[in-house]
Structure formats: structure tokens, C-alpha cells
Amino acid sequence: MHFLVFIKQVPDAAQVRVDYETGTLIREGVPAIINPFDKHAIEAAVRLRDQFGGKVSVLCMGPPMAEEALKEAMSMGADDAYLLSDRIFAGSDTLATSYALWAAANHIIKQTGPVDIFFAGKQAIDGDTAQTGPGIATRFNVPLITYVIDIRKVDPEKKTIEVVRLVESGQEVIEAPMPCFLTVEEELNKLSYAPLPYLIRAAKTPVTVLNSKNTEIDPSFCGLKNSPTKVKKAFTPPKRERGEIIEGETLDEILNKLYEKIEPVLKEMGKV
């Protein structure tokens, strides 16, 4: 079976801080990581590969430094890694990104054979859009299953898959034919400590670089210019000031003071 995982390299959001003076993000020195959700997608694909055979390909669109993310994906057990990197992609929104990734995936499929399960993370922690996966799935015209928390069954003969996904009211067990497209939650699995041979293979295997020249990607759908959405402005939300520690002789006194402070809000909400 062939599994294709879309991974994004993102700045570790936990370490990004805000410069309130300039209203920008301080990204300097912030390490780039594989989007946490995508790691679970890789893990799932690798486990299925180990169970059913075949291979795991990973595809990442990003600047040359994103090669690190792909190397890490191979260390986790992915077989082939592709970096889609070209100036023409700069500034792509989710529609343009999903086009480029779809086109690049098609190129990979042409070279290496059809994909049974596509994987993406639920969302990327930098943009938090959760749109790229659904966008790619739609272009492939394969069933889309979002928020997957469990892969219950894969039947390579019947070419079906049974998964559990999160919905507002609980969970749903879904059956779908393969090929299909899953976007995954962190709960899907626990990342395992990869065996040494994976790491050695990753260190030895080069990442294949794709761009507008060695693929059939149509530049007129890519990049800032061809993205329907544009950023008008970016700004930092007002800084949260340190509030007050409520003090008092007794806990009752403290709680009463607290209550007085929030009473207007409770009233406004119709709680009192």
C-alpha cells in the first residue's frame, strides 16, 4: 500500500512571542518543527506500512530549510520524502497551497504509483486554518474524513477503511473506500521512539526536491498573486495586563471581593 502524508514545517508557536512595540511576531531563534498534528499522521502511516507493507511518502511545501522536517519524517520511518520548494509558491493561501500540493502529489503518484490513504494534520499551528487537507482531498475527489482519532480497520482486499472521527456531539465511526483522505488529531496515536535503522536510513536518503520546472504544476494557480485571499493587515491583539491578586483576611472575604468584581458580568449574561 502507498501512504502519502502532507507535512508542514511551522515555527514552534509555543516559543513565538509578540513584540508589542512593532506589533509583529518575534520569530528569531524560534525553532522550526513539524506541525505537531502531522507527526501523528506520519506515525499512523508508518504503522500501517509496517502492518501491511508498501511505503510511506511525505510531501512538504516550504523553503529549502523545510528539508529538516522531511529528514525528521524519514527518521520516524517514512520511506520517501519530497520537498516542494519554489519562489513561485511564496504567499500562497490555502486554495493555492492545496492546488500546489495536489499537483505535486499527482507528480509523485505518476512516478511511484497510486496512493491508498492520504494523510494531513487536522490543522497547522501557525495559521490554524484546517483548510489545506480538505482542499487537497476535494481536488483528488476522494472521500474526506476529518478529525480522525482512531483507525480501526484497514482491509487491503476490499480496499476499505474504518475510522473514528470527532464531531460536535461525540464520535462517528466511518467506513470509506480507499483511496481516501484523513486529517488527524493528536489523539490518533502516541509517537513511538523510532528504531535506529530508520534514523540511519533517513540520514542516508536524500530528499527529492520538486519545483515548477521538474513538475507539471501550473504557476498561474500559485503564489500570492493567484491566491484569492489577501492579507490586508496583521496586528497584535492588545497585551493582556497583569491583573490583580485578590487579597483578604479570610477566604470568605476574598471570595466576596471576587464576586463583587464579576457580578456585573454575571448580570449581563443573565446568570443572576
Binding site: P134, V167, E175, A234, P237, M269
Partner: protein, 337 residues
């Protein structure tokens, strides 16, 4: 990019999210917000949805000011499944050409919107918390948090229609403004063989609502709660306040709460009116999910805990002492004793 004749598009469409029984609250919020936008644009607000039995919603939809309600009813649409929902909705949008399409940023809404926008080859802005009309260009300005709420971006979609956005629940007030509306029934012929995805089973977690975004009060427990048993205090306080409860990742990992209730970078982003953090240190990853709450109340025995940096009100103390008293107090004050 495919260029369109954008002058052909008119009116604001709001997606009515439902489970064939009840409408999701966010749909009313969006109808209310859409009315404001429609004033600026000089157009109408329309509602639309598809499903097995959706005509029943007409009255409620008109109550919130939708002049028209576009629907497709079909037994095939009994359950929400991405692809048939997408295809029937796309059919209506292509036929009636709304200028703006608003969908709630729920799990369902975000599943649906991405695929619709791709078919329509138009822009989609995710998870917005602000919607305005640019007075000059009349474009929709969509503002949304990124980088875990550290940065806000205002996004617009100048050359493609419809302008689409998923909008966070709980941001806008649902305000009634009844009108006499009109139901427009459409039909869509499903090529049933095309839809191969099936729901085998639905696991409804009673009371286990997944979307914390629906609540204006959230009481959240962290590792400082000490045990699963003690988490009940958090639940009880939430109940007394008519809100819901949540947890930090460490509490989730300890098995004291389901992941569906995790707040933070890898959990849900919430912005209730009141967020009460009990025994939560306030790690940056946790803050990413709750920093934009209006009022943050923190209870922690460590006066140096980072949560106090962002808390509106802080109580330095042991949760096991503070919470029982707090529950008792709110019971009395809110007349629930």
C-alpha cells in the same frame, strides 16, 4: 486563479447548521451579524441549508431576520456526510450566486467550508472573530487570530466570489429581528453510487459536548487538581455557573479529562466571558487556547505561576480549599442553593 465576474453576486448567505432536529446556536449568531453587514452593503440576509427535514427550521430562521431560506430536503441527507452536503450546497451557491457565505467554525462547518471553497475556487478565511465591510471597496474584511492568538490578521478576498468565512461560535450576539421570509425549495439529483463514505455508528457522548466554544463560562482544571476525583469540583463549579468544564493537557494526559475538553495549542481555543483556571500553571501552550477570554480568574497556590501574568483576578490558595467555598458561594448568590 480563475477570474470571475464578481458583479453577478449579491446578498449574504448564512449556513444553518443542524442535526435535523435543532439548529446550532452559531447559525443565529451569524444571522444576527449578517444583518449588520447587509446594512452596510444594502443587500439582504438569506439562510440556506440542506438535510433530511429542514423546512421545520424556517420559522426560527426568519425570526433572526433571514429574508429567504434556501433548502434542499432529501432523505439521502439524513446524516451529515461531507460530499453530498458539499455537492448540494455548491449547486445552490452556483445557482443563486451569493456575495458572501458565512459558516460557523464548528467541526462540521470547518469540514464543509474547505471543500466547498475548493470546488467554487474561491477564497475562504478560517475561524474568524471579526467581520466588517470595507467602506470604500465594499469588500468583506475578515479578522482572525493566528499563531495561537498571538497575531491577528485581517483578510479579504477582492476578486473572487462568494467571499467565504468560517466564524467562531460565541463571538456575536444572537439577536432576534423577525421578518416574513420566503422558503425556496431546491432539488438536487444525487448520483448515489458516487458517495461511498458511510457512517457505521454514532457515539453520542451525553453531556460530553465537544465544542467548548459554545460556552461563555469555562471552569478549567489542571494538574494542580491532584486527582480525577478532585476534578469533580471543577465540574460542579461549572454546573453552578451554567458553563462547562475543561482541562489542561497535563490533566488530560493524567486521564482526569477527555482530550475533547483540552484547552490550548493542541486542544481547543476558547474565549468565554469568564475562564476560571484551577491549578493550572499557565504554560504558553495553554495560554494559546484561552488568552483571549474576557475575564480570567486564576486559582493557584504558587504566587509566581505564569497564569497570574494574564489573569484578571488571581487567588493565591489551595484549589481544594477555594473551590468548595466558591461553589457554595455561587450557589447562594445565584440562587441555586
Amino acid at each position: 486563479m480563475i477570474k470571475q465576474d464578481i458583479s453577478k453576486y449579491k446578498h449574504i448567505w448564512v449556513f444553518i447548521e443542524h442535526d435535523n432536529k435543532e439548529i446550532a446556536r452559531v447559525s443565529f449568531e451569524l444571522l444576527s451579524k449578517a444583518r449588520e453587514l447587509a446594512k452596510d452593503l444594502g443587500c439582504e440576509v438569506h439562510a440556506f441549508t440542506v438535510g433530511e427535514k429542514v423546512e421545520q427550521f424556517a420559522e426560527e430562521v426568519f425570526k433572526y431576520g433571514a429574508k429567504k431560506f434556501f433548502i434542499i430536503e432529501d432523505p439521502f441527507l439524513k446524516d451529515y456526510i461531507t460530499e453530498p452536503y458539499r455537492d448540494s450546497i455548491v449547486y445552490m451557491i452556483e445557482k443563486y450566486k451569493p456575495e458572501i457565505v458565512l459558516i460557523g467554525a464548528t467541526t462540521l462547518g470547518r469540514d464543509l467550508a474547505g471543500t466547498i471553497a475548493t470546488v467554487l475556487q474561491t477564497g475562504l478565511t478560517a475561524d474568524t472573530t471579526g467581520l466588517d465591510i470595507d467602506p470604500k471597496t465594499k469588500n468583506l474584511l475578515m479578522t482572525r487570530p493566528t499563531f495561537g492568538g498571538n497575531l491577528m490578521a485581517t483578510i479579504f478576498c477582492p476578486d473572487n466570489r462568494p467571499q467565504m468565512s468560517t466564524s467562531r461560535p460565541g463571538v456575536y450576539k444572537a439577536i432576534e429581528e423577525p421578518v416574513k421570509g420566503e422558503i425556496i425549495r431546491e432539488k438536487f439529483k444525487f448520483d448515489k453510487a458516487k458517495y461511498t463514505k458511510k457512517i457505521l455508528e454514532k457515539i453520542i457522548e451525553e453531556g460530553e459536548k465537544v465544542n467548548l466554544g459554545f460556552y461563555d463560562i469555562i471552569v478549567s482544571g489542571g494538574f494542580g487538581m491532584g486527582s480525577k476525583e478532585n476534578m469533580k469540583l471543577v465540574q460542579e463549579l461549572a454546573e453552578v455557573l451554567g458553563g462547562t468544564w475543561a482541562a489542561s493537557r497535563k490533566a488530560v494526559q493524567a486521564g482526569w479529562a477527555p482530550q475533547t475538553r483540552q484547552v490550548g495549542q493542541t486542544g481547543q481555543t476558547v474565549h468565554p466571558k469568564i475562564y476560571i483556571a484551577c491549578g493550572i500553571s499557565g504554560a504558553i501552550q495553554h495560554q494559546a487556547g484561552m488568552k483571549s477570554s474576557e475575564i480570567i480568574i486564576a486559582i493557584n497556590k504558587d504566587p509566581d505561576a505564569p497564569i497570574f501574568e494574564i489573569a484578571t483576578y488571581g487567588i493565591v490558595g489551595d484549589v481544594l480549599e477555594v473551590l468548595p467555598k466558591m461553589i457554595q458561594m455561587f450557589k447562594e448568590k445565584l440562587g441555586k442553593a
